[in-house]
């Protein structure tokens, strides 16, 4: 069995948040290489970890550098790639460069430090390719996907830190059906935990001694882009990048939460497309008015869902919609500056 078949058998999915079947991505690179034998190939390990509330990649690098590098080397060998880049945020680079360099040895693996002002969008795969190529750091139009036209027009494999870690384990026959969860927020034992990948959210909280004894809700998959669930909705898996952030209900004003999310996306929008560049600006503007037009808020969020170019634009509505539908509309108190019933109606 070659490595792709092993990966397929193990059922690996990408751990960067999108959960794309890893075997399919590797096959796409292989197919595109076979189609055009003049092309080189490249590998990028995404160690940007820019999503607030997600800390697992730093943990994995700290504790399992060798396996991460081993996974990258497996890719280098399999595709006979030109080189691999570890696209890493500056904090992690400072902390872990020595141990990573040791593990790299003489392999053609280079660090590319995530540029200082690239922000949240600097961790998106198209932005990463543009950063490495010296272009403006913003997403690319897809198709073509990086597997077909990545770095300098060549087939490029972009995988997350945890994904490469898993590939190393699969290759050594040591892979277990586990994944790394980040638990943080209003909890006693925040941290990164390696547990079975089929645990429900409430089970994860209980096993890590983090199940709250106060009124709470959670956000899963990231503090900005993650879905918000109330305490009765925790029977599912921890989706996306596997982070669970606990929010104590009494601590947060609804207006501030929503404003926080929208301000974040307003600051982080790359500006390329109308629904996001203009949409985030107008959303922030609408929220400032004394009489918030919730119908307009929903219209702007719908427009983002329908026509934004990249993952950032398409995810903006997720935390807000889920918060209103799953938490607010069930509670309805603590609403300065908002008309609870009207607002919730608009979101249905």
């Amino acid at each position: 069995m070659n490595i792709i078949e092993k990966i397929k058998k193990a059922g690996l999915v990408g751990r960067g948040g999108a959960c794309f079947p890893t075997a399919d991505k590797w096959s796409a690179v292989a197919k595109n290489l076979a189609r055009n034998n003049k092309k080189k190939s490249y590998i990028v390990c995404n160690a940007a970890e820019g999503e607030p509330g997600v800390k697992k990649d730093g943990y994995i690098i700290e504790n399992f550098s060798e396996q991460v590098i081993d996974g990258i080397k497996i890719g280098l060998n399999f595709f006979k790639a030109e080189k691999a880049y570890i696209y890493i945020n500056h904090k992690y680079y400072k902390k872990y460069k020595r141990q990573l360099t040791k593990a790299i040895g003489k392999a053609p693996i280079e660090f590319f430090i995530k540029p200082v002002n690239s922000g949240y969008i600097g961790g998106e795969e198209g932005s990463i390719l543009n950063a490495i190529e010296g272009k403006r750091i913003e997403p690319r139009l897809r198709p073509p996907f990086p597997t077909e036209k990545g770095l300098w027009g060549n087939p490029t494999l972009v995988n997350n830190v945890e994904t490469f870690y898993n590939i190393s384990l699969v290759n050594a026959g040591k892979f277990e059906a586990k994944r790394f969860y980040t638990v943080n927020g209003d909890c006693l034992h925040a941290g990164v935990f390696c547990l079975a990948d089929n645990l429900k959210i409430n089970e994860i909280l209980k096993e890590t001694n983090n199940y709250p004894n106060f009124s709470f809700f959670v956000q899963v998959g990231g503090d900005m882009s993650g879905e918000v669930l109330n305490s009765k909705q925790l029977e599912g898996l921890a989706s996306g990048s596997g982070s669970i952030t606990v929010y104590s209900s009494k601590k947060y004003k609804p207006y501030n939460l929503i404003k926080n999310w929208l301000d974040f996306f307003l600051n982080e929008s790359c500006g390329q497309c109308t629904p996001c560049r203009e949409g985030t600006y107008r959303l922030a503007e609408v929220l400032k008015s004394p009489d918030i037009d919730w119908q307009l808020v929903v219209e702007l969020l719908d427009n983002l869902d329908e026509t934004a170019i990249c993952g950032l634009g398409c995810v903006i509505s997720v935390p807000i919609r889920s918060y209103v539908n799953n938490v607010l509309s069930k509670e309805g108190d603590n609403w300065p500056k908002m008309k609870p019933k009207e607002a919730c109606e608009c979101f249905k």
Binding site: G119, G271, Q272, C273, P275, E285, D302, N303
Partner: protein, 578 residues
């Protein structure tokens, strides 16, 4: 050009549906391309066939049956059995909101904006009945960047489509504009690199879907001068105007509207109307003479044309070592203006300083050229103001002149006569062909046999290819000539100058008919139609060569008797610029 959208490759046709209409089309095209070819309207703002699709305006959205996500028709390629709808409620909702959001980057100026007679965005807002008062004008405090007196980028109007950057960087390879900042803060600015400068070609302006990148207008001061009783205000118009202005009045592409142009200018209040084609014949003669002289006396070679002011700016800033290669001949409208303010003024007994000359040009760089101090004749600039084709159209519409129904008027004599060689100046290769017709005839003298049989057509230098090369007969010599179509294609020529004897360079793709001041849109298809009209005009003329133009002969022989004035009127010099 490699950046421009590709044409459909040969192959088997496929069947698709757009709004229920069955269409057979070649694959490897986008939905928008197929729709346009089949007369189906899909709105778009950032799309331009000269560039690869950027798909950032998100206005050309369509729904493909069976797919969850909407598609951008400018980018999405057609597939067999695709069922496309451009008018579903889902499409309308998101398209209209995106138009509304774009409009709000921009509103507040419509009542006084020059483009309200021909603005793509305003037309979309009207067509889809967009709400224009839900959002405030978010760019009202943005800066305007001005480049000489020719072009400007008005940040208050910019809709972030990036066409100007595609034009300046990808197409023209000048790289003068960049996008600074992120998100809603982003702004188109000139680069802060002292080694890069604007050449005023205006390709940014002719690709802008709104009124952000545009010419610096002079129609206001021209209108004012027209009311000045103390001046004789005359107009002259370029070769390109007559085959392009009709587009602004729904007369189709390549419509030859010379008589109406003159009538329209007369209605605007200009007392005399002259044809720059007359000036072009002078330019041809002066240039042909200089070419033959350099060949005979082993002067600086290759000789290069200089009637494109953006190309001259390019040489002066980027390659000053090539200044000696530029012909010392002035450009057509400067030639004709010089003759007007000397020969014509003398004939009419008018003081040259009482004459105001307005050139109607397809060009933004000519606004800069007109101010060059080296061009002064006895203390006066030959041309006082330059307005673009678009400004001319605006003036006509503003004054409610029914251009389409104007009765033809002839230009004023004697400076209204021109040859076919002048007519083709507006297209890439036109100056070259014109000069070769005359140079060859002049070199042959009275010989009429062998290679010296009458040669009119030099077809190898025509067309829209990036660079056209040929070896042509001029008298008993074989000249290696090159025609560069668009400043973006200049580098390989500059690196191989010793391969050529005579080079024509036009900064704008297509030549002047694709100029920065031309009607919008300007695409390859439209460039070809405008050029075809010029060659049609050429063929229709009895006079095909510049040196056969009697008016030119008369004015030049008068000039010969004026001593030093002759050189002042016909020649110029250039200077290195930082």
């Amino acid at each position: 050009m490699s950046a421009r959208g590709g044409f459909a490759s040969g192959g088997k046709k496929i069947k698709i549906k757009i709004n229920g209409k069955e269409i057979n089309c070649l694959p490897d095209q986008t939905i928008l391309e197929v729709a346009l070819k089949n007369g189906i309207y899909i709105p778009s703002l950032c799309y331009h066939s000269d560039f690869k699709p950027k798909a950032n305006c998100r206005v050309c959205v369509v729904e493909v049956k069976g797919e969850k996500k909407l598609s951008m028709s400018c980018k999405r390629k057609v597939e067999p059995e695709m069922d496309i709808r451009t008018d579903t409620p889902r499409v309308k909702k998101t398209r209209n909101l995106n138009i509304e959001l774009i409009f709000a980057e921009h509103i507040g100026k419509c009542p006084t904006c020059v483009w309200n007679v021909n603005c793509k965005l305003l037309k979309l807002a009207e067509k889809y009945k967009i709400e224009t008062n839900r959002f405030s004008d978010r760019k009202k405090n943005r800066k305007t960047y001005k480049f000489a007196n020719a072009v400007e980028i008005d940040g208050t109007q910019c809709i972030d489509c990036r066409n100007c950057i595609d034009a300046c960087s990808v197409m023209q390879n000048i790289n003068y504009l960049e996008l600074k900042g992120k998100g809603s803060e982003q702004e188109i600015v000139p680069v802060k690199n002292k080694k890069i400068d604007c050449i005023y070609c205006g390709q940014c302006a002719v690709h802008c879907p709104v009124g952000a990148a545009q010419e610096q207008t002079q129609w206001e001061i021209v209108e004012k001068e027209l009311t000045n009783k103390k001046k004789i205000v005359v107009a002259q118009f370029a070769p390109s105007i007559r085959v392009s202005i009709g587009e602004e009045f729904n007369l189709g592409y390549g419509e030859i509207a010379t008589g109406q142009v003159i009538a329209g200018l007369k209605k605007l209040g200009f007392t005399h109307i002259f044809d720059v084609n007359f000036g072009a014949d002078i330019t041809t003669l002066v240039e042909a003479e200089e070419l033959l002289e350099r060949l005979k006396n082993k002067g600086v070679m290759p000789m290069m044309t200089s009637c494109c002011p953006a190309w001259v700016k390019y040489v002066e800033f980027y390659h000053p070592e090539l200044i000696p290669n530029l012909t010392t001949s002035r450009s057509p409208h400067i030639h004709s203006a010089g003759i007007i303010k000397t020969y014509w003024a003398d004939k009419m007994k008018i003081k040259p300083s009482d004459i105001v000359i307005v050139s109607v040009m397809p060009c933004t760089a000519k606004k800069f050229e007109a101010t060059r101090s080296e061009l002064k004749i006895k203390g006066n600039n030959p041309v006082d103001y330059v307005i673009t084709t678009r400004e001319f159209a605006y003036l006509l519409k503003k004054n409610q002149i029914d251009f389409a129904n104007l009765k033809d008027v002839k230009a004023d004599n004697p400076l209204g006569q021109y040859s076919g060689a002048a007519a083709i100046y507006g297209g890439s290769g036109g100056v070259m062909e014109s000069a070769l017709r005359s140079a060859h005839a002049m070199a042959c003298g009275s010989k009429k046999t062998g290679v010296c049989r009458d040669k009119i057509d030099f077809k190898e230098v025509r067309g829209l290819s990036d660079v056209k090369e040929a070896v042509v007969d001029v008298g008993d010599k074989k000249l290696r000539v090159a025609v560069v179509n668009g400043i973006g294609n200049i580098e390989p020529i500059i690196k191989n100058l010793n391969k050529y004897d005579y080079i024509e360079v036009m900064a704008c793709p297509g030549g002047c008919i694709g100029g920065g001041g031309q009607p919008i849109p300007t695409t390859d298809e439209i460039r070809a139609k405008r050029i075809a009209a010029l060659y049609k005009l050429d063929k229709s003329k009895k006079l095909r060569k510049a040196h056969d133009n009697p008016a030119v002969k008369e004015s030049l022989s008068w000039l010969k008797k004026q001593g030093k004035l002759e050189h002042k009127v016909l020649h110029t010099k250039y200077k290195k610029r930082k």
